[in-house]
């Protein structure tokens, strides 16, 4: 029976690959035997040798996050073989755009009401009205939509836009699963 150098049970990768799990196995810290599906997915999409190559190019303290993100991508692609994680990104992008439009509308409403409040306060000598203690001339909490988009993702996302037609278009011609599927919505 296979065993690791420390006589523990072999890691999920070595079990899957049917090989001896040696001490210092690069997979062992990240693919415990209790999670066989994790390596199965990663192997199906990326292959063991590609994962080894990817991990060897990273510093040891980066490898756990890298393996988890690879596992996330692999699971997303197993669930959605066409779009994988890109389906989730597309869905989340639409959510961001929708929220920003609502924010812009609320900002406009606030400015209008703040202007009305300012005018009413100045023309009404009675002290019966309430006044926003912060500021009678309300200013938007958020910058404009364009300014927010410039700050999105700290530059990485903004400078690397998705150059292809994406699923979940406005006419809802998506193929695989309901919105939010494909492994989307998770936080690393």
């Amino acid at each position: 029976m296979y065993s690791s150098g420390s006589y523990n049970s072999p890691c999920a990768a070595c079990k899957f690959l049917r090989r001896k799990c040696m001490a210092g196995c690069i997979f062992a810290p990240y693919f415990p035997p209790e999670e066989p599906q994790k390596f199965a997915n990663v192997h199906k999409i990326f292959g063991a040798s590609n994962v080894t190559k990817l991990l060897n190019e990273l510093l040891p303290h980066q490898r756990e996050d890298a393996v988890n993100s690879l596992a996330y991508e692999a699971e997303a692609r197993v669930r959605d073989p066409v779009y994988g994680c890109v389906g989730a990104i597309s869905y989340l992008q639409r959510q961001v755009h929708r929220l920003q439009k609502e924010l812009d509308a609320a900002n406009a409403d606030l400015i209008r009401r703040g202007y009305d409040t300012y005018n009413t306060n100045n023309s009404n000598s009675s002290s019966g009205g309430m006044v926003d203690p912060l500021n009678t001339m309300q200013v938007p909490i958020q910058p404009s939509t364009a300014q927010r988009q410039q700050g999105l993702g700290g530059g990485f996302y903004q400078s690397f836009g998705i150059p292809y037609p994406l699923p979940w278009s406005n006419d809802h011609h998506h193929v695989n699963g309901p919105e939010g599927e494909g492994g989307g919505g998770g936080n690393m």
């Binding site: 929220l99 409040t117 999105l152």
Partner: protein, 144 residues
């Protein structure tokens, strides 16, 4: 240089793999020779055989979008070897959370202003000064 049976040049995948490009090459519609970087990226992250296997498992009409998505994810992983495109998902989730919070605050402030405006509007028609209705009646401002 060898060429496919139809005499056209090899696709980027077959060039990369240094082999003949058959007429039914699964890569050629999606990895043209004019864009070698595209196949280089997916080959680097997934490997040619994995890409071929993934494309074979998808209906032909969906292979184009699948190849595009694979290319995008490969580019993300090359650019960010630790998080790949999952980093983008995290960023978007944070953006959604933060924007939702700001929207809720903004709506609360709008509601506050709206309620204040309503009270001020009422105050112009109805002046209530403690129990001194007689005083207000003299002024002529009280409507009970």
């Amino acid at each position: 240089m060898s060429s496919s049976a139809t005499g056209t040049s090899r696709c980027a995948a077959c060039r990369n793999q240094r082999r003949r490009c058959p007429t039914d090459c699964i890569f050629s519609p999606h990895f043209p020779s004019t864009d070698p970087e595209r196949f280089d990226a997916v080959h680097r992250i997934y490997g040619a055989s994995k890409v071929a296997k993934m494309l074979e498992e998808i209906p032909p009409e969906m292979r184009g979008p699948a190849a595009n998505a694979l290319h995008f994810e490969a580019k993300c992983r090359i650019r960010d070897p630790v998080y790949g495109c999952v980093g983008i998902i995290s960023t978007l989730n944070e953006e959604i959370r933060d924007t939702g919070t700001e929207l809720a605050k903004l709506r609360a402030r709008v509601a506050f202003l709206a309620s204040g405006a309503q009270e001020r509007q009422l105050g112009q028609d109805y002046t209530i000064v403690d129990d001194h209705w007689t005083e207000q009646q003299q002024i002529g401002n009280v409507v009970l």
